[in-house]
């Protein structure tokens, strides 16, 4: 099998998440790593990197996905995540 694409160390945002891929005619579950990253030199964007363990997947080759976000987009995402997290918290408290 191929090696991991993303590096994983103590600075990785999440080294153990449950993830799922879904396509036309296939659906698989795997563990995943997810990392928020900015370049060391004058960062211009935020990247959000996701990699599912390729040993658990048959439908797609080993790979990682990367989404590039502007600072504003990253804030929008953070705000939506925050709101969503609050809804989950509220539901649990109810």
């Amino acid at each position: 099998m191929a090696d991991r694409v993303l590096k994983v160390n103590a600075f990785t945002t999440f080294d153990l998440l449950d993830a799922r891929i879904e396509g036309h005619g296939f659906e698989e579950e795997a563990f995943a790593t997810l990392n928020v990253r900015t370049a060391r030199k004058n960062p211009e964007e935020v990247s959000l990197d996701l990699e599912l363990d390729n040993t658990q997947l048959d439908s797609v080759p080993a790979h990682a996905d990367r989404v590039s976000l502007s600072a504003a987009e990253a804030r929008t995402l953070a705000a939506e995540l925050q709101q969503a997290a609050e809804r989950v918290d509220e539901a649990e408290d109810a």
Binding site: M1, D3, L6, K7, N9, L16, R40, D53
Partner: protein, 592 residues
Amino acid sequence: MPSKVERWKDETYGMEIREHLLRFAEEGWDAIPEDEHDAWFERFKWWGLYHQRKGQESYFMMRIGTPMGRMTPEQLRTVGEVARDYATGPVENPEFGDAYADFTTRQSIQLHWIKVEDIPDIWDELESVGLSTIQACGDSWRNIVGSPVAGRDADELVDVWPIVQELHEKFKGNDLYANLPRKWKVAMTGDRRGSGQGDINDLAFEPAIKEIDGEEVEGFNVNVGGGLSRKEPRFARDIDVFCRPENAADVAAGMSSLFRDYGDRDDRFNARIKFLIDEWGPEKMRSVLQEEYMDYELPTAGQGLRDEYDYNAGRTDAHGDYIGVHDQSDGQNFVGLSVLVGRMSADDVIELADRAEAYGSEMIGLTQRQNLIVGDIADEDLDDFLDEDLLAEHSPDPHPFMRGSIACTGTEYCSLSIVETKNRMVRYGRWLRDNVDLPEGVNDFHIHLSGCTASCAQPQIADISLRGMKTRKDGDAVEAFDVGLGGGLGENPTFADWVKMRVPADEVPGYIANLLEAFEAERESPEQSFRDFVAERDEDELADLAESEETSYEDPYLGNTKLTWYPYAEDTDMDASPAPTDPNDQPLPSDD
């Protein structure tokens, strides 16, 4: 636009950092401005000091670079005394006690729990015997690696010790090479074992013979661009250059100047020379070196000795290390001792130095397999030396599982690691020794355990590669390992094939037991090496060879040790940390 690290380096870097460190030592930990910690900690690396991880604020790891791992017994004793007197923290390690030295895969020494206030005294002691922490880390010439027994080894082509000393003198503390785009790792091999492991270094001198003007010249072929880190490990590539021993310093100067001038300073992830040679190819690397940095015509490569290499080569006909008794060229012997995971108590370090000196040894060597060599033991003294009590613990004839184990620092101290490493590898080794029969003919079995993808334990070049990860077990997040198989150096260096992901740490010994059982059952013959067995199989076959399982092995570090302040403390909670502390390990008053 240069990176943040490049800006810090522009402000203060190199030799002058020493003055600042002396000032901080005088004024104490609090004198390092909190908002400048990142910048100062980056700079301190140049003088061999890494700030330890979260929860251990105010404590440093100190690295002492010993070229080719070579020392005198006096120097080794000083290391032991410094470890005994200064490398103690608030909590003992349950396997190794309260003071110890770590011997690393790049033949250096690492001490932990060092306080900034003690640094001047430590430097005084180390420098009084010719040891230094200079440039042990940071973006510069790192410790030069190679065979510690150069000049003594009966199995060598060129004695590289004088050359390595020359390179060490020329390039350490030299402003021209003090600030490179990234680390610069050099290996020099003169023996027939391949013990420099040049394949995984930025610049490698490999022994070679070249006919020049009708004369057979012994020297080196030059390879460039090896390295293990990240997802793109590389073996150093042949740039078709032969180098006479007397030209090694010129070629090294040329290559490191080329790296200084052309390496990528904008992106640290792309800075190592392996990426430059990816971009240029070996031919351009050679032509730029020739045209811009050399004032003589570089000969083309000579005939190498690679087919003889056995160091970490996974061969069945030769041990892949220096353990045991070996002939020296002067008729004496050098004795390689197993140091499990490279860690030795300060008392043992001192005792070993004393015993070595008592037997007339003038040479101690640290190997890239985290072991230790005592040189110059006369034939008539050999039996007595082998009977020394200390050798029961640090054996010249250890069980293969103990012999072949390497581990990095791990979550005990390291900021990057995500799993506990050294104590776990010790426990793996003991359990495997006591519970697993090695297949007939297997005398060496290398297990390299690294705490993250940074590859400090060189996981890609082992029979079994373990690399720290997490998984979920019974609903809890637990420490785990990705597993690779079949890596090694030698004539045909190979990186491990990664075959399993996230094997729970407590199921790894069971996995190894099952794997070896499958190997024994399915191999062609007892002569087939594990590496060759792996090489014959495709990824699916390798993944299906064995499954992990729980056994009688118990793992006390299964939980998330990264989140503890110290994995072996009575109260491991981050809030229970005494750090930052004063020089007596007492908590400093908080500003809150």
